[in-house]
Amino acid sequence: MQFFFEVTIGGLLSGVMYSLVALGFVLIYKASGVFNFAQGAMVYFAALTFAGIVDAGMPLYVAFVLSLVVMTILGILTERIVLRPLVNQPQITLFMATIGLTFFIEGLAQIFWGATTRRIDLGIQDEPIPWLLDQYNIVVSTFDLTAAALAGVLVAALAAFFQYTRIGRALRAVADDHQAAMSIGIPLQHIWAIIWGVAGFVALVAGMLWGARNGAQFALTFVALKALPVLILGGFTSVPGAIVGGLIIGASEKLAEVYIGPMVGGGIENWFPYVLALLFLLVRPEGLFGERHIDRV
């Protein structure tokens, strides 16, 4: 039982990381209907930028601010150069454009910072919490817990931003209905630029945490793919969905690996989330929190 708890908690905590990546997808999909496949590449780029600046001898907070500036510029440029010429194209075209963007960003990141793995040290200890270890003999890393707390703060901050600021209201209006938002005078293009900037910020946080865990390396772009089953589980348009979906995927894949894995030879972590999401979709096609889709002829 105690082993079960340990695996579940470990899974939940790694699920938080998936949620962070999925959050970036949801923000952009909600606001502009673009399925931004490049979010994973953005996470990679952000992690490398942050690590690169820290390696150049800057303190952590300077590196954070500088990378934030870089990511915001990247996001805004993406909106201007890639998506603005493609307005009114079918969704699949926009999706393809973001796959092109993925290649571009991956190439750019490696030309700038090299393809080597960089370590990120955020100054957070990666040790089991002594109290839990003594009391219940369960290993929970302080780092994972801090990361989860950071993610929680981030989501709360985003929620507050959406709820209480002028720009946040405009963002929600755009997400609800583009045309109606435009007709009451909300500048659509500015809003899109802002949302890409925010997605860049989320990518930076995810990149820093992932990078500190596993090093800023190319494999980060694959990890980001795990955000996709999180999305279908939680629904493409729901921020709470991304969080809950991430937790479910994280916990279930670890549990499946431990309990089902040995029966079929292991390594099922790679596809289990997708199959889980698929089975789930058969019951609820719009995801946990997605908007119910009604077809009209």
Binding site: F35, I81, V82, P85, L86, Q89, P90, Q91, I92, T93, F95, M96, A97, I99, G100, L101, T102, F103, F104, I105, E106, G107, L108, Q110, I111, A115, L225, L228, P229, L231, I232, F236, V264, G265, G267, I268, N270, W271, Y274, V275, A277, L278, L281, L282, P285, G287, D295, R296, V297
Partner: protein, 359 residues
Amino acid sequence: MFYRETGQFKTSYAADQQIFPIRQDRVGVALLLVFAYLVVPVIADQYWFSAILIPFLIFSLAALGLNILTGYAGQLSLGSAAFMAVGAFGAYNFMLRIPDMPVIPAFILGGLCAAAVGILFGLPSLRIKGFYLAVATLAAQFFVIWALTKFGWFSNYSSSGVITAQQIYLFGVFAVDTPAKKYLLTLFVVSVMALMAKNLVRSNTGRAWMAVRDMDVAAEVIGYPLMKTKLLAFAVSSFYCGVAGALSAYCFLGTVEPDYFTLDLSFKILFMIIIGGVGSILGSFLGAGFIVLLPIFLNITLHPLFGLLGIDISTAVVSNLELMVFGGLIIFFLAVEPHGLARLWQIGKEKLRIWPFPH
């Protein structure tokens, strides 16, 4: 002036319904086929066969398969490479386990295996659509590759799942061993299957697919069975991808490991149909040609270009620059001509018809 159907009268239904109703098109296609079958094997060298022509044909076939599913039936899929893998490993196992298995039936059986897997992973399409479906097809991608690596039976218990394609003989006697012969076999399979696809999409089946693509509820209302139509699209598409996979094992790569059929390959095939033209048979070929030639072209041009500027660059930088140019070109292409190369071809034909007048 030269490309004009004036004076070509049709006196029978057969003439009205033929694939290429304009004589110039028929002559053009015939010339192209003659060139591909008779002239190319003579003039091309080893490099052209194994680096350009054979991959081009194989990817065209895979793109054709995906185009049937995405372009005609409107179901987005990111798992084409997985279906290619099933085809390759299926054909390998039939050749391995059945003595004196002829090669073409083995390809077909491999394709049928892929079709079965395609139907299985196409089942969710009955409930979900769009990007949800695209992500669902990723399940096929990861699951198939995992299964092929994990279960030794598929690769005859070779280490890390690598298979080595057997020597193939046509009708038991003609050994297909040189690149030229492999090219001809590939060309034969691809041209027959392209012809089949062309006819399929202008038949009742094709019209059913297009109806489902344009609006599935409406298609259902006018009496097309959704389940049958969608699953048939998945089956046919996976069959094409499967045969393409078998061809790539036997005529292109020789030794294949499951990891060759990665998600990247699926994306490549998707790029081919987007750049070539979604919902166009010709587009599959144009797109495959573009994607096969682009890296070669970049590789040839980038080095001298930097040499000219006097900058000495490492191969790592070049490969990253290739990535960037590749991504940039795709974005550029989508912005300039979202309907793909096939659309450009059509515009060109229209212009030719009315030439020398502007309208």
